[in-house]
């Protein structure tokens, strides 16, 4: 674990012509901003860092006062976002010194007791004795570990190592399982590498942009500037989404497919591309395997058949095929809308087939990408907190890979556990008492997993449950021990964004007294479990040095990335095998993939219907998604006044044909349960589909209704489609306030409108006014 060659900062190649609109040619990687604004009355300092929330990873400065406290934000001219921020980014700083922060460990010996503040020693010792007790009685695998993709990559590396080396359990997984593992699986199958192929700036160079299942405007707002920039340069825009989102509103073609029918649509598009002779046969012959089978399969998807499955006009399929295949350079982006399915991997493969068949790969302005949800959704799985992966994206099933990692970790090969199960499967194992103890690190499954009833039952069955968090999440409120850990601005570390660009976050203030870093807590637990020598890390920097070495020589190569280089360049895309290497912003430029034969392995995709069958009783599709003001389970954003005010509560979006008026209480019923939301009546959704944003806990949780069916390969839950019905109700369910530690008042500003049963005020004002 030693630092090797001193890093020589190598600037990233950046084409100055490629700048998002409104940004001209300025560039500031991370040092002193050229255009710095001196609001110097307080002698404030600006600390360059990045937003903690989504996969765009916008650069920002945190304003720190002369007492060393974060008190504001200042836009930063970083390559990715060029000063732009969304409302989450602007308000993120408010959580750093928020009154709801946990500042002391909380502990109780059974769920019948109240939480009491405990000393760190007490909480750590109790946790260790419970781990020992459970593992002695039921075996090592009876203890599970669930990490999170909002953690820095150093910490996700440590989660994987802690699970396998300290807990010696096979059951390690993470909440990125709920995010983009379908895309990861598809990319691995087709290209042997798990990441998007192009940087954001390529969007500005494309002639045709296809966005499938991604509400870019609300989920990745800062990416919108690239989309609009492409439009300024004349690119056509195709949007596939059951709702007319802000992006769809201005698209050349908006295809409102029925949820769960995406691969039927893309197969039909490829059918038309083949029929009309628009394929790039030279490219296919030189670079692919499996094309003949794919071509044969799509013959069974003529536009008329798919149009019926997808509930759209067949002419749209032909139009999209001609537009995409006819463009000089075309790009396809997708997100959870097509990934959160029991055939999520297949959906992504059908998009890849379309890009490959038209030769749109490895060129500026041509390629594919998946848009990451969580800040470190990309980096969070690369270094071993996923059930089947070891650091460097190595497979835990591969003998050679196991040997390499055991050598680096200094453990016996026989001691390295085999692959575990996925996050949802672990919940089912908790229900069956196969898993009896659990540590959760920065995740909130009580809001984020589907089928809340099953999740609650699983967690309630646990003998022991500990959570790391900085606010008391709904899940932490159910635990035996809660460890108060740092927020992002109190530690340093790296994250990899949607482009696979690794960026460095910097520390802006000291944590409050009583708060420790996740790294410290894991190392301390490991020490008490008797493996302290393997966890001798003072902080993120030392963990990163080990991570670099552990990833060297793999596809996920971070070896050439150092903190110093990141600070000097503003981000480096992996693979980056040496400290002279500039990184790899665009993949496949030489036509080779990361499979040993260098080919693209095209995969046959057959459409099959969603797992939850439609019947007369449940005729509608329920789909879920995000709003611009909130982030995932809302544990952070539901506490920030401005964001609560912007979107105080969830709603159910319904088409006017159902006869409801805005604000009417509507009961949504699925096979898992029922809840009542205010109606948001709008023509911007399919008549056979209803939509609920998912950031709130029961009794206003979309995930009390969604189905826990999984994709057989990626094990991602099918959040984006289940069968439902709606009916008139008496009154809407009240939105609960987020839990707070005992003896504390909830931050009053966050209570704005919380239980207000008035009509919904969606972040985009859909249906807030009545029409005559």
């Amino acid at each position: 674990m030693t630092a090797t060659d001193p890093a020589k900062p190598a600037p990233l190649p950046l084409d100055p012509a490629i700048a998002p609109p409104g940004t001209r040619n300025f560039r500031d990687a991370g040092g002193i901003p050229a255009d710095r604004w001196h609001a110097d009355q307080n002698g404030e300092t600006l600390v360059p860092t990045h937003c903690c929330f989504c996969g765009v990873q916008c650069g920002m400065y945190l304003r720190v006062d002369n007492a060393g406290k974060v008190f504001g934000v200042e836009p930063r001219n970083h390559d990715i976002n060029r000063m732009r921020l969304c409302p989450k980014g602007i308000n993120a700083y408010q959580q750093v010194n928020h009154p709801d922060r946990l500042t002391s460990p909380l502990m109780r010996r059974s769920r019948y007791e109240e939480f009491k503040e405990a000393s760190w020693d007490e909480a750590l010792d109790f946790t260790v004795s419970e781990i020992r007790r459970i593992q002695a009685a039921h075996g090592n695998d009876a203890f599970g570990l669930l990490g999170g993709a909002s953690l820095y990559s150093e910490k996700t590396y440590l989660v994987g190592k802690f699970g396998r080396v300290a807990l010696k359990t096979r059951h390690v997984d993470y909440n990125g399982r709920l995010c983009m593992v379908s895309a990861a699986g598809a990319n691995k199958l087709a290209f042997g590498i798990d990441r998007a192929a192009n940087p954001f700036s390529d969007i500005l160079l494309t002639d045709c942009l296809l966005i499938a299942g991604s509400n870019v405007g609300e989920c990745f707002p800062v990416m919108t500037q690239y989309v609009w920039g492409a439009r300024d340069r004349g690119a056509t825009l195709i949007v596939i989404d059951p709702r007319e989102t802000a992006i769809a509103r201005t698209a050349d073609v908006h295809v409102p497919v029925k949820p769960g029918t995406d691969s039927a649509f893309f197969n039909a598009v490829l059918h038309v591309i083949v029929e009309e002779g628009l394929t790039d046969e030279a490219y296919l012959a030189a670079h692919t395997t499996g094309w003949d089978e794919v071509k044969k399969t799509v013959q069974a998807y003529p536009p008329a058949r798919s149009a019926e499955i997808c509930g759209i006009p067949a002419s749209q399929i032909v139009q999209v095929a001609r537009m995409f295949a006819g463009a000089d350079k075309a790009m396809a982006f997708h997100a959870r809308g097509i990934e959160h399915h029991s055939q999520g991997v297949e959906n992504c493969l059908s998009v890849i087939n379309m890009c490959v068949a038209t030769g749109n790969l490895g060129k500026p302005g041509a390629g594919y990408g998946t848009i990451t949800g969580q800040g470190n959704g990309q980096g969070g799985r690369e270094h071993g907190q996923k059930a089947d992966l070891l650091p460097g994206g190595r497979s835990i099933m591969n003998e050679e890979h196991r040997r390499q990692i055991c050598r680096i970790w200094g453990i016996d090969e026989a001691d390295l556990p085999p692959a575990g199960t996925s996050m949802m499967e672990m919940v089912w194992q908790m229900q069956r008492q196969e898993i009896r103890g659990l540590i959760g690190i920065c995740n909130n499954p009580f809001v984020s997993l589907p089928n809340y009833g099953a999740v609650k039952q699983g967690y309630d069955t646990l003998d022991f449950h500990a959570q790391f968090d900085f606010f008391l999440s709904e899940t932490a409120a159910n635990a035996h021990v809660v460890f108060p850990v740092t927020v992002w601005a109190e530690d340093e570390g790296v994250m990899a964004n949607t482009e696979a660009r690794v960026v460095k976050h910097n520390k802006a203030q000291e944590p409050p007294a009583g708060v420790r870093t996740d790294t410290w807590v894991m190392c301390e637990l490991a020490r008490r479990l008797g493996v302290g020598d393997k966890f001798d890390f003072a902080g993120s920097r030392e963990v990163f040095e080990e991570l670099r070495i552990a990833s060297a020589g793999t596809v996920n190569d971070y070896y050439g990335i150092t903190y110093e280089r990141l600070e000097a360049t503003g981000g480096i895309a992996w693979p980056c095998p040496s400290t002279e290497h500039p990184g790899t912003p665009r993949l496949f430029e030489d036509g080779r993939t990361y499979h040993p034969d260098g080919k693209i392995h095209m995969q046959v995709v057959e459409w099959h219907p969603p797992m939850d069958a439609y019947t007369e009783e449940f005729p509608l599709s329920l789909t879920t998604g995000r709003t611009v003001a909130h982030f995932l389970s809302g544990n952070q954003t539901r506490r920030l006044g401005a964001l609560v005010e912007q979107t105080p509560r969830p709603w159910v979006e319904v088409h006017p044909s159902h006869g409801f008026r805005d604000g009417d209480p509507v009961r949504v019923v699925t096979r898992r349960g029922s809840e009542v939301f205010p109606a948001l009546v709008t023509e911007a959704i399919r008549p056979d589909t209803v939509f609920i944003p998912y950031h709130w806990p029961v009794p206003t949780a979309a995930n009390a209704l969604t189905i826990d069916a999984l994709d057989p390969r990626s094990k991602i839950p099918e959040y984006k489609v289940c069968a439902a019905r709606i009916e008139a109700a008496e009154r809407v369910d009240e939105v609960p306030a987020p839990p707070t530690a005992p003896g504390r008042q909830a931050y009053p500003e966050t209570q704005v409108s919380r239980t207000d049963p008035l009509p919904p005020t969606s972040s985009q004002g859909r249906g807030t006014a009545e029409r005559s």
């Binding site: 609109p21 604004w37 836009p75 976002n81 000063m83 969304c86 409302p87 602007i90 859909r766």
Partner: protein, 199 residues
């Protein structure tokens, strides 16, 4: 139209309210947002657009004209400042006079507040907070030439008719390229596009 000013392009707005949040962070009225976000077609579409102070030039800002206390200062570079705290009597004349519905009044403090184009930032050559962060460029700060260099063919309007009265503004609005005379939200016909009278 001023040299450097805000251009509003409703076609790009995604209704994210980053501008609203950013405005709260501005030092001149910290904690309060001076931006109105309007939804033009609720129930039908997600279309939205922000309203910031239009910094009227001709006739000189109606809000300043009607102010009995002379509390609203217009600077030499055309920025209509928010009410001077030592003068404002909270009478709300300005609220009634503004054709765009911009000024806000804090009745308890007897004080008017409005966008002053982030004078604390623009004076240092920085863009106003809202236009800096707007993730889509629906709010753009710069000159008309800079805007047109980035968005070829873009047309803007900076005069608006209210009955017989025409108000020319310092802030301009992007209008569809193929429709020069087009009712802007609120039903006002555009009378001038890129400085040319199109009536």
């Amino acid at each position: 139209m001023m040299g450097r000013t805000i251009f509003i392009d409703p076609g790009r707005c995604i209704g994210c309210q980053a501008c609203v949040s950013a405005c709260r962070e501005c030092d001149s009225h910290r904690g309060k947002s001076m931006i109105h976000l309007d939804y033009t077609d609720p129930g039908q579409s997600v279309a939205s657009l922000p309203t910031v102070c239009m910094h009227c030039e001709d006739p000189v800002a109606p809000c300043a004209e009607v102010c009995p206390a002379d509390a609203i200062l217009v600077t030499a570079d055309g920025v209509v400042q928010q009410a001077d705290t030592t003068r404002c009597i909270g009478c709300a004349n300005c609220v009634n006079a503004c054709p765009f519905g911009v000024p806000k009044i804090d009745l308890q403090a007897k004080l008017q507040m409005k966008c002053n184009l982030c004078y604390d930032r623009t004076a240092y050559g920085l863009a106003p907070m809202c236009a800096t962060v707007c993730p889509t460029g629906a709010l753009f700060y710069g000159t008309l030439e800079e805007l047109q260099a980035e968005r070829p063919g873009v047309q803007v309007a900076d005069s608006f008719a209210f009955g017989d009265v025409v108000v020319s503004t310092g802030v301009a609005m992007v209008v569809p390229a193929d429709k020069v005379q087009w009712p802007v939200p609120g039903g006002l016909p555009v009378v001038e596009v890129n400085g040319v009278d199109v009536r």
